[in-house]
C-alpha cells in the first residue's frame, strides 16, 4: 500500500470533521457531469436536463464537453469494444474526485446485446458508483441514481478513493486502507432519497 500523506496524516478532530462536512456538501451540490451519451439513454439524459425535470435543481445543469471540467461521468448507452478505450481515456482525463453512473442496462451489463461487439458491463473498464436500471431509464430513474450518488458522497469519505482499475462498485470495501478514516460496514448508506 502506498504511503498516505496529505489530509490523512491529520488527526480526526472537530475542525477537520467540520471541514470534511463542508467539502462533502460542496461536492454533493456542484457535481458537473461530462457528456458521454452513447445511445438512446442519452435522449433521456437530455430530457433530465431540460425544463420538465431540470437537473439544475441539483446544481448539475452544465454538462461539460471537456472531461477536465467534469467530475461525474454518466455512461449513457451501450459501450462497444472499440469505444471502451475511449471511455477509459475520458475517465482518466477527469480530475479527482470523480464518479461514474452507469445509466441503463446496456452500460451496466450489456443488456439485451449479449454479443461480441458490446462490453458486457462498463464496470469492466471504469469503476462504477451507481447503476441505473431500465431500457432506457426514465429521467426519474436517472435522478434517483443521482440522488443515490449524492447520498454516497455525503456519507462517504473525502480522501479515500476507489481502486484505479475497474472492478465494480463494491471495491471500496472495509479494511483496505489504513489511516484515520474508519472503514464503513457498507460503502454507502442506501436509502430512498428524498
Amino acid at each position: 500500500m502506498a504511503s498516505w500523506t496529505g489530509l490523512e496524516s491529520l488527526n480526526h478532530n472537530f475542525l477537520t470533521g467540520k471541514l470534511e462536512d463542508l467539502v462533502k456538501w460542496s461536492r454533493e451540490h456542484s457535481m458537473w457531469p461530462a457528456t458521454f451519451g452513447l445511445a438512446c439513454c442519452a435522449i433521456e439524459m437530455m430530457a433530465a436536463g431540460a425544463a420538465d425535470f431540470d437537473l439544475a435543481r441539483f446544481g448539475m445543469e452544465v454538462f461539460r464537453p471537456s472531461p477536465r471540467q467534469a467530475d461525474l461521468m454518466i455512461v449513457a448507452g451501450r459501450v462497444s469494444q472499440k469505444m471502451a478505450p475511449v471511455l477509459r481515456q475520458v475517465y482518466d482525463q477527469m480530475v479527482e474526485p470523480k464518479w461514474v453512473i452507469s445509466m441503463g442496462v446496456c452500460a451496466s451489463t450489456g443488456g439485451m446485446f449479449n454479443n461480441y461487439a458490446i462490453v458486457q458491463g462498463v464496470d469492466q473498464v471504469v469503476p462504477v458508483d451507481v447503476y441505473a436500471p431500465g431500457c432506457p431509464p426514465s429521467p426519474q430513474t436517472l435522478m434517483h441514481a443521482i440522488l443515490t450518488l449524492h447520498e454516497k458522497v455525503r456519507t462517504g469519505e473525502i480522501t479515500r478513493r476507489r481502486d484505479a482499475a475497474g472492478a465494480g462498485a463494491g471495491v471500496d470495501l472495509a479494511g483496505e486502507v489504513p489511516g484515520w478514516t474508519q472503514p464503513l460496514e457498507r460503502p454507502v448508506h442506501i436509502g430512498t432519497p428524498r
Binding site: A51, F53, V105, G111, V130, Y131, G134, Q140, I190, T192
Partner: protein, 230 residues
Amino acid sequence: MGIFDDLRFFGGFKLTLKQVLEPRVTREYPKEKQPKPPRAHGRHVLNRYEDGMEKCIGCELCAAVCPADCIYVRGADNNPDAPTSPGERFGFVYEINYLRCIHCDLCVEACPTEAITESKLFEFSFTSRADAIYTKAELVVDDEGRPQHLPWEDWREGEDQHTSGWMRATAPNGAAQYEGEVQWSGELGHGVRPPEAGQSGRRDDEATGNISVRAVSRNKIPVRLGGKVR
C-alpha cells in the same frame, strides 16, 4: 446614438420576462412523481392466489421468452402435504437481473398463470451488482398482496396497488373480440381485477388508478399554444 438606442439592450429581455409569466413545467421529482401511463412497465412482482398460494408453476416460459436473458427459473415438485402452488410444480428459484431487464413485458404475456406482472415502479438504482438481482423472496407479494418495498426503491403512497396494468390490457389469447373480457384469476389482496381501461374508448380510471397523461401534459402548456393553464 441617443439614450434610446442604448435602452434597446433591454429589449433582449422581452422573451425572458415573458417566460417568467408562463406556468412552471418542472416536476420536482424527489418531492412528487410524474403520473405514469396506464400500462407503464416497471419492476416485476410475483403474484399469489387469493388463498395465499403462489401462482408460479416453474414452467420457465418467461425465462425462455426473455430477449435479454435476465430471468432464471428452476421448478421443483410440490410437497403434497404443504404445497406452495396449486399445481404439481412450483417456482423453486426465481431470479431477475434488473441490470439486464428491458421491461418489455414479454414474460407477462408468456406467463400461463398470470404469476408475473409488472408494477409501475421505475425509480430505483443500485450501488452494487448484487442488489440488482432480485430473488424470489424479494419479488413475491407480501401477505396483503402488495409488492415488497426494498430500501433502494422509491415507492409512494398507493403506488403499490397497481401491479398488473399491462396484463389486464391484453386478452390472453390475443383475439380482439375478447377485449375487456376477464380471463385472469384473482390476486391475493385484490380479488379478480377489472379489465384495464382505455381500450375502445372505455375508461374506468377510478377502478384501475389510471391517469390520462395527455390531459395532464395539456394542462401544462400555455393557452396560446392550445393548452389549458391550471
